[in-house]
Amino acid sequence: MERDPGPGGARRALGRLLEAVLASRGEANAVFDILAVLQSEDQEEIQEAVRACSRLFGALLERGELFVGQLPPEETVMAGSQGATRKYKMWMRHRYHSCCNCLGELLAHPSFQVKELALGTLMKFVQLEGAHPLEKPKWEGNYLFPRPLFKMVVEGLLSLEEDRSLLLSQFREYLEHDDIRYHTMQAASDVVARVANGHPEVSWLGPVSGGGQWACGVLVLRQRLWQVPLIFCNNAFMLLSAVSLPRQESDISSFYVRRTELLDKWKVTHLKEHRRAFQLMWLGFLKHKLPLSICKKVLVIMHDSILPHLAQPSLMIDFLTRAYDIGGAISLLALNGLFILIHKHNLEYPDFYRKLYGLLDPSVFHVKYRARFFHLADLFLSSSHLPAYLVAAFAKRLSRLALTAPPEALLMVLPFICNLLRRHPACRVLVHRPGGPELDADPYDPGEEDPAKSRALESSLWELQALQRHYHPEVSKAASVINQVLSVPEVSLAPLLELTAFEVFERDLKKGPESVPLEFIPARGLLGRRDDLCAQHFTLS
């Protein structure tokens, strides 16, 4: 093949070759030239070649000029004594295979344009091959789908070395088609299983001793090497989370590979099968050890887009309990999924409240998922059948933690505690114990892990009394509620849950014009007067 300088030349040359091959079978050998360009160094040339291949094999597939059926190896084809046409078809089918392989390799090309083009071409082949299957139907109405080719595509997407998030987001639009989605799920479970099995499985790390100290847990987890590579996990998660099942059976109607008629016995037309595949895929993915970041991501979408689509949601219990045992933010997130399982799927979870109690540590007010956690905690503690000691322990623990909380969290947690007391009148002794003996020390034991033994009911909420002296007036007001008999209606937490420091700040700034209080002692300078703290400890020079 003559090499003209510049992409224009390449395109013209390729066009000529393409015409020749399509025009007469005698020129078939020019295919080799086209395929050779696929391995070129130049990005432009590769793109041209990919386009040429796409047109060439697309045309051939439509014409039916590729061999249909079990393909014998190339040597036997050449040596065999079949007719010339059959030989040609077999030979061409082999070229088609090598072309597909090349394209699969191009999915790892550094240039994104090439990757995108290769993906598009492969998907086009998938579509054409689905319409003109290259294998013989075994019976009438047999459902045929180019599975090997498609699996190759999925494998290319789930790379072990490179973050393919851009390509995956391109792929997302194909996932809107039901058949593609179904086969993606199947292929993805295969690929994940294969990758994970390539690395020997190690049992999941048990719960870190010491429960609440999740920071230590994280550290320990990080020190071990991950068996499944992080990049692969990321890619897999991208792909898996992009799969979203339709809600209703009737929604399955859009197919990527055009079919003349849909047969009822095809698995791909049933939502149940989709769900099964979905479940297999997620369980297969989640049973492996995953990095914490992926764990978090999975847990964030768990309640919304995974659990409702599973055929048997209770199977997710393994993953959720393991996550719940890790502690810290992960536990907070796992809580949501667990709640759905407990609430909707009748799951028994021993020591649930004890663990929830264990989750309460000072960091709970500073994590990102505070709102979600307190929303759930509110749900869990809303039952009126909880024993008083448990609720008292929670109230006491929360008020103890409130001593280190920022104002925006305090504005939320103080009404939370008051709501607890409202729901459970037996706990009101925490704020109202007339005639009780004066104590030397707080009987509450903060170190005790079992809420039953924490002796919270014998204590009082002195912490709230201390918070009545908080510097923020709103907080002080909220804490002063306990001075009176609690009003009957509960305070709605919903608007308080998402409160941020910035919102609190803005609200304070926007407060209407009141008389401006002024410092009456004249200022002496930047550091204040001589006896001020600043002046004592700092100098200007």
Partner: protein, 819 residues
């Protein structure tokens, strides 16, 4: 109503028999005409208006009304001519009846006059007064000298006036009656009457005069007598004028006292206190005059007459020179040469010149931009420079060289001296250009003078100007703070100015501070979102990564604690931060008893930031205040210095902890709050590697903590008021109308009421119309009947006459026959 009725009754009285009409008027109505609406139940308080009705009366009234109105209309239905009343102003109520009559009379006269004048040329109409011809009256013109009677000028005798002017109707009547009385014997002529009157009045006058003279005589006599008696009575000065003085008794002690008190020196009104405005005005006046003098000095116009101002400006050269006489001539020389001169003259003396020049140049910009006077100064400078070509040499060799240089110096001083008046800056840039390049004192002075020149009491717009100034100053301070290194000293001084301005305009100051705060907050929000850290974060926002962060945090803690020192508010973030600082000053270990909160991590890169391991540094450390420059990113020069700073930070931290412990000792859960701190402090103590001073501090904090009592009084809610029992007081509803239409809202009731009223009125109207129609029909019927009767009568008459005619004719015929 009653009135009308009675009037109607009276009117009816003569003709129509009273019958039904008089029913109401009579005290005892005919019982057969009274219809009584019997009430089933007596309702207390209900006013019954329709219990007794007089149907006959009301029917008669209605019929009468119809005859007056409807019947009239009916009768005049085919008539098109209208009666118009053309009497002047008959229906005009604006004109009073007298006026009306006058006009009418005038009109009538006019009409008559016009008619007559064509033919009667000489005929004057006779003017009359009370029916007497005026011409007649004028004929006896007697002059009564009324002015001779000076005592009572207004009261001419009534008869006289009556005789002259005819006024006073009563009098006239009296007179006429008098005349009527006298009429019998002899009617006096008018002339005689007048004469009589005159004579009478003259006599009266004479009598009065005589009386007065008598009185005068008598008083004189009395005086004389009195004088004589007076001399007899008291042997004192026989003056009649100060009689009362004589009579005054000798003042007793009380009176003396009263007088004395009365005449006692009262507090003299001194010069009143000057109001703030006046003070401001004076201050501005002073500054203005100083400015004027400065300008004069700068231009060299200072002559011997102008006394040296007593005020010494802050940067005045106090070299004590006095301007000599010769200056005046030489002052036209200018800078260009002057610098050389100066260098020559100051070779040894002072090295300040360079500095001053620098300031000078820095100062020129603001003058140019702000001060119109300054600008003109510069121009004139330029001119004089041009013209100074020739005298230059002269001056070179002038004998009074010393003096010249002194003069130059003075000018130089005046130049470097600040202007005394400033225009308030309109933008931040202006302020910046005013202040930049000046020394601290000068900047302060500038700001102070701007304030004084624009005191709000001096002009209306000054308030807004100063309010703006606050914002600009704030911005300027922010600018200074972001400099590298920050200009802390200037800020330190400017804070005082800010404070003063703030005291003057609290609202606007708080607004601008809020604005700055919001800006900072937004910036921080953005920074944290993008980078995860901000320049000057709150105590719990960003992780502490370096010594700078520690110093910043400690400073914020200090400020915070200062602010709550009086209110003793609880600040969880502060405790957390101090805990974190203590933690990063200890070696990491798995510990129990405390948990670190958000910005600090138990493990990791910065978890031993403040740990000092160098024994030697530890030993050489001296406790001293931290420099604020650390907060702005000062880097430690040596490792020792860094270590020393670390220890200082720790010391500050411990001091703050101590302060917190003292302050929060009264809080109910003090021990729960400080438990982590205590655990860490014991660790610090156990460490034993710290300098002695710090260890002592730790120890004292721990003992303080121990000393705080546990406050574990069980909580008790305040007793709330018991909810009052339900009482069965009736509900009060305002009754707008009796009946079923109750229990709805006021608007609804009002609407229903209106609907009801409309319905009632409608019914009434229909009834009225029906009755009208009946009445009319009745009238028409009677009319027809009347007509028929008339016709019948006429026909009968005709027949009668015909019959008689026939009879006569027959009789005649019979006669003929008989004949």
């Amino acid at each position: 109503m009653g009135k009308a009725r009675s009037a109607g009754a009276r009117r009816k009285a003569p003709g129509i028999p009273v019958g039904a009409r008089g029913g109401r008027a009579r005290p005892n109505p005919n019982p057969f005409e009274v219809k009584i609406n019997r009430q089933k139940f007596q309702v207390l308080g209900r006013k019954t208006r329709h219990d007794v009705g007089l149907p006959g009366v009301s029917r008669a009234r209605a019929i009468q009304k119809r005859t007056q109105t409807l019947l009239k209309e009916y009768k005049e239905r085919d008539k098109s001519n209208v009666f118009t009343d053309k009497r002047f102003g008959e229906y005009n109520s604006n004109i009073s009846p007298e006026e009306k009559m006058m006009k009418r009379f005038a009109l009538e006269q006019q009409r008559q006059h016009e008619k007559k004048s064509i033919y009667n040329l000489n005929e004057d109409e006779e003017l009359t007064h009370y029916g007497q011809s005026l011409a007649d009256i004028e004929k006896h013109n007697d002059i009564v000298d009324s002015d001779s009677d000076a005592d009572e000028p207004g009261t001419l005798s009534a008869e006289l006036t009556a005789a002259h002017f005819g006024g006073g109707g009563g009098l006239l009547h009296k007179k006429t009656s008098q005349q009527e009385g006298e009429e019998g014997e002899k009617p006096k002529s008018r002339k005689a009457l007048i004469e009589e009157l005159i004579a009478k009045s003259k006599q009266e006058k004479r009598e009065r005069q005589a009386q007065r003279e008598d009185a005068l005589e008598l008083t004189e006599k009395l005086d004389q007598d009195w004088k004589e008696i007076q001399t007899l009575l008291a042997h004192k000065t026989p003056k009649s004028e100060n009689r009362d003085k004589k009579e005054k008794p000798k003042p007793d002690a009380y009176d003396m006292m009263v007088r004395e008190l009365g005449f006692e020196m009262k507090a003299q009104p001194s010069n009143r206190m000057k109001t703030e405005e006046e003070l401001a005005k004076e201050e501005q006046e002073r500054l203005r005059s100083l400015e004027a003098e400065r300008l004069r000095r700068m231009l060299g116009k200072d002559d011997e007459n102008s006394r040296r101002p007593s005020h010494m400006s802050a940067d005045d050269l106090s070299d004590g020179f006095i301007l000599g006489e010769d200056d005046r001539r030489l002052l036209s020389y200018k800078d260009g040469k002057m610098n050389v001169e100066e260098e020559q003259s100051r070779e040894a003396s002072d090295g300040e010149s360079e500095e001053e020049e620098g300031e000078d140049s820095g100062e020129e910009d603001p003058e140019e931009s702000d001060d119109p006077d300054g600008h003109s100064d510069l121009e004139s400078d330029g001119e004089s420079e041009e013209g100074s070509g020739t005298p230059e040499k002269e001056r070179r060799h002038a004998p009074g060289k010393r003096l010249t240089s002194d003069g130059q110096k003075a000018r130089e001083a005046a130049r470097t001296e600040l202007p005394y008046t400033f225009v308030a800056p309109e933008s931040f840039e202006e302020l910046k250009s005013l202040l930049s390049g000046k020394s601290i004192e000068e900047q302060l002075l500038v700001v102070e003078r701007i304030q004084k020149c624009n005191h709000p009491s001096l002009a209306v717009g000054n308030k807004a100007k100063l309010e703006k100034l606050f914002g600009f100053l704030l911005e300027y301070v922010g600018d200074l703070a972001t400099n590298d290194p920050p200009d802390l000293r200037v800020i330190d001084k400017l804070v005082v100015q800010l404070y003063n301005l703030c005291q003057m305009f609290p609202e606007s100051a708080s607004d601008s501070i809020k604005f700055v705060l919001r800006d900072a907050m937004h910036e921080m929000e953005g920074m944290i979102e993008t980078k995860g850290r901000a320049a000057f974060p709150g105590l719990d926002v960003c992780p502490v990564r370096c010594l700078q962060d520690v110093v910043k945090g400690l400073f914020v803690c200090c400020v915070f604690l200062d602010y709550v020192s009086l209110s003793q508010r609880f600040i969880p973030e502060l405790i957390n931060f101090l805990l974190g600082i203590l933690y990063i000053a200890t070696p990491n270990k798995q510990n129990q008893g405390y948990t670190l909160v958000h910005p600090f991590r138990a493990f990791g890169k910065n978890s031993e930031l403040l740990l000092v391991s160098d024994e030697e540094d530890m030993a050489t450390w001296q406790r001293k205040s931290l420099s604020l420059h650390w907060a702005s990113g000062l880097k430690a020069q040596t490792k020792t210095e860094a270590n020393h700073t670390r220890l200082s930070c720790l010391a500050v931290c411990l001091a703050l902890v101590k302060r917190c412990v003292l302050m929060y000792g009264v809080l109910p859960s003090f021990h729960d709050i400080t438990r982590p701190l205590r655990a860490l402090l014991t660790e610090h103590l156990a460490d034993c590697s710290h300098p002695r001073e710090l260890q002592e501090l730790c120890q004292s904090i721990l003992t303080e903590m121990e000393n705080q009592k546990h406050h574990c009084q069980p909580l008790i809610c305040e007793k709330s008021k018991p909810v009052p029992l339900k009482l069965f007081t009736p509900r009060l509803v305002k009754v707008l109308e009796f009946g079923r239409k109750q229990g709805s809202s006021k608007e609804e009731q009002e609407r229903k009421r209106l609907i009801h009223k409309h319905k009632r009125e409608f019914k009434g109207a229909v009834r009225e119309i029906r009755k009208d129609n009946q009445f009319l029909a009745r009238m028409q019927l009677s009319e027809i009947m009347e007509r028929d009767a008339e016709r019948k009568r006429k026909v009968k008459q005709l027949f009668n006459s015909l019959a008689t005619q026939e009879g006569e004719w027959k009789a005649l015929k019979r006669k003929k026959f008989k004949k």
